[in-house]
């Protein structure tokens, strides 16, 4: 009953005209960003930072969240029609979505992606409503040792789950933590690594950093790619899935939603991993796996459901613990802090209008997206035809003005361009910027909690193992680090034992 009352209160907040408008603006911008190449949801959200300064905290967060899950919807459109994922989380949708479009069933693919996303998003919101309150109550029992260990587990998972080299990911995470130490010490206020610069006393700007790493770097990389993408020319007909489509996809949507939601909660996962896992699962479970890659509609429904459910799930650690599990949530954390609101276990008590308003706005936003995406598919297709040589200067201009307007300081533009160059080279040399950004955002919290823990224990490191929850987090982190070595060793041992037992 208490939860129902809270949800109704949340709807009374999210349906206020200003918040409704913010939700609408967010999902439209998000869909646009998802459709257009060259700008992702992270860069778009960071560009919107200055715009949100005049808004209420609730409206600002609703707008930013709308951009995120709106981009998921938009990304599937380009995946299906152009075979180019508009968002990283829509990569897998290309595998079966584009073949469907080539077979003249683009409308059905787009429709199923939209419906699957809506159902998964709705289930995700229900999941948040159910899981978030008990998790917030549990988090109230966290002290500095638990927070330190949880963050250490988070960093380990981010490095472990990063694509490519784990060492590179660990190096990026350490670099992010170090960059986070520039500025004033969080406890005693001593300047660190500022070298007399007044600008650096505030630390390295988060908004210029992410705009550089994800906005400028992306544009620079796209400049190297030539040619305009080829769009499927056949008219988009029949966006409502058939009864057979629903029969084929129902299970995939349900499984993708559950998989995506729970994976989205974990640090370092994001929305991309659940889509791959969902695709793999559906192919494994299918009676006709040979259809996958040639236009299986469940190959679209499952991953699209998974990425939207993951978007909802990833809000849980941010809202209840104040810990962003991925870079998009890190941007959202920045938005909270800019408006003077600290997400975490006390958010529900101190700012219920923000917590429940944001959660219920996702339901409203999902409904808006379903209404927007299907009738406006023709418009999105036209937008895809805009040549990149017209788009990229506009994107760059928005980045430049966005960075400048944070503090009306030209050095923020320079910071952004520096990180743009860094991000460009990182992508060229196969380094993932996500661990760097997450570690940068969480570094301050990590340092404060570690130092507070040591003060509490009077210098004894045993405090991290003496507290049960903290010990669980640390042991899990240790297992994750040792797993790549333990699994082959375990398998070899098993084989030896089997050979010893042998036939007869």
């Amino acid at each position: 009953m208490d939860v129902l009352h809270s949800v109704l209160y949340g709807f009374s907040v999210s349906l206020q005209p200003a918040n409704l408008l913010a939700c609408f603006a967010g999902v439209v911008i998000g869909t646009l960003v998802g459709v257009l190449p060259g700008i992702g949801s992270v860069a778009a959200m960071s560009l919107l930072f200055p715009v949100t300064y005049t808004m209420s905290p609730t409206a600002a967060i609703i707008l930013m969240a709308g951009v995120y899950y709106g981009a998921m919807y938009g990304g599937s459109t380009t995946s299906i029609l152009v075979n180019i994922p508009g968002e990283a989380a829509s990569v897998v949708t290309c595998l079966d979505g584009h073949p469907l479009a080539r077979q003249g069933r683009g409308g059905a693919a787009l429709g199923m992606a939209a419906f699957g996303s809506f159902i998964a998003g709705t289930l995700g919101v229900i999941g948040i409503t159910v899981l978030a309150p008990p998790l917030a109550r549990l988090a109230l029992r966290f002290g500095p040792p638990e927070i330190s260990s949880l963050l250490f587990l988070g960093f380990t998972m981010i490095s472990y789950l990063a694509g490519g080299s784990k060492l590179k990911a660990a190096a990026m995470a350490l670099l992010g933590l170090l960059l986070g130490t520039v500025g004033l010490d969080p406890i005693v206020g001593t300047p660190r690594f500022t070298y007399g610069s007044v600008t650096l006393l505030d630390g390295i700007g988060f908004v210029p950093m992410i705009m550089g790493l994800f906005g400028i770097a992306e544009v620079l990389l796209n400049l190297e790619r030539s040619g305009q993408p080829e769009i499927v020319q056949s008219p988009i007909r029949g966006v409502l899935p058939t009864r057979q489509d629903w029969k084929d996809s129902g299970g995939a949507i349900a499984r993708g939603s559950v998989l995506g939601f729970f994976l989205g909660i974990l640090p370092g996962i994001g929305a991309i991993v659940p889509t791959f896992l969902s695709y793999g699962l559906e192919k494994r479970l299918s009676k006709h796996p040979e259809r996958f890659g040639a236009g299986a509609i469940e190959g679209v429904a499952g991953p699209e459901s998974a990425n939207n459910a993951a978007a909802a799930g990833s809000l849980i650690p941010l809202l209840t613990l104040g810990i962003p599990p991925n870079v998009v949530m890190a941007v959202l954390l920045g938005a909270f802090l800019v408006h003077g609101v600290q997400p975490g276990p006390l958010l529900m008590q101190e700012h219920p209008e923000i917590f429940w308003g944001v959660v219920t706005s996702m339901y409203v936003g999902n409904a808006m997206l379903l209404a927007l995406n299907l009738p406006l598919i023709g418009l999105w297709v036209q937008l895809l035809r805009v040549p990149y040589h017209i788009l990229f200067p506009l994107i760059l201009l928005c980045c430049m003005v966005g960075a400048y307007s944070v503090n009306s300081n030209v050095w923020d533009i320079v910071t952004m361009l520096l990180f743009g160059a860094v991000g460009y080279w990182m992508k060229q040399w196969d380094y993932d910027p996500v661990p760097l950004v997450l570690a940068f955002v969480l570094g301050r919290m990590a340092e404060e909690s570690i130092r507070q823990s040591l003060v509490l224990s009077r210098g004894s490191l045993g405090i991290f193992l003496a507290r049960p929850l903290s010990a669980v987090f640390l042991i899990t982190a240790a297992l994750l680090v040792l797993l790549p070595w333990l699994i082959p060793q375990g398998t070899n041992l098993l084989r030896k034992l089997q050979r010893q037992d042998g036939p007869g």
Binding site: V51, L220, L223, L394, D430, S460
Partner: protein
């Protein structure tokens, strides 16, 4: 020397440099860690990771595994020139003001980088500048006035 080896060396050097700089800050002790404690520990961890990475990359190089793709040099030039144009924009934004600086940078991007015909580039730049100015004013974003300041 492969790119990974170079990067590993850079990380090692960075770790050593930061640990020296962090050593100049008050370190405190385990029961009352000072401002230098956390960055020093991070720098040591970075040195360790850098060393492991260096060993790994040297081993991989010996096995012939370090093949890094490179962008075509002509197209990488586009990225470099774009960055230089944007740096110029940053330098000229406050003295020249938003309108003049934006028109100039759009002209350079459309005409110089994308090699559109100059009249087309000029027209596009003017349109973009005016529309962008109107949009940012609507969004109440503060823009430098530069030459046009009263």
């Amino acid at each position: 020397m492969s790119k990974d080896t170079g990067t590993a060396g850079f990380l090692l050097l960075l770790g050593v440099t930061v640990s020296v700089e962090a050593g100049k800050l008050p370190f405190g002790n385990l029961s009352t860690p000072g401002p230098g404690f956390f960055p020093f520990c991070l720098a040591l961890a970075l040195c360790l990771v850098g060393l492991l990475f260096l060993l790994h990359s040297l081993t991989a190089a010996r096995a012939g595994q370090n093949i890094s793709p490179a962008a075509e040099s002509g197209k990488r030039g586009k990225a470099v020139w774009t960055l230089l144009v944007l740096l110029g924009y940053a330098a000229g934004l406050e003295p020249m003001g938003f309108l003049a600086a934006t028109f100039l940078v759009m002209l350079l991007l459309y005409g110089g980088i994308e090699r559109r015909r100059w009249p087309v580039a000029a027209g596009g730049s003017l349109l973009t500048t005016v529309l962008a100015y109107a949009l940012f004013r609507l969004l109440q974003v503060r823009l430098p006035e530069g030459l046009w300041a009263p």
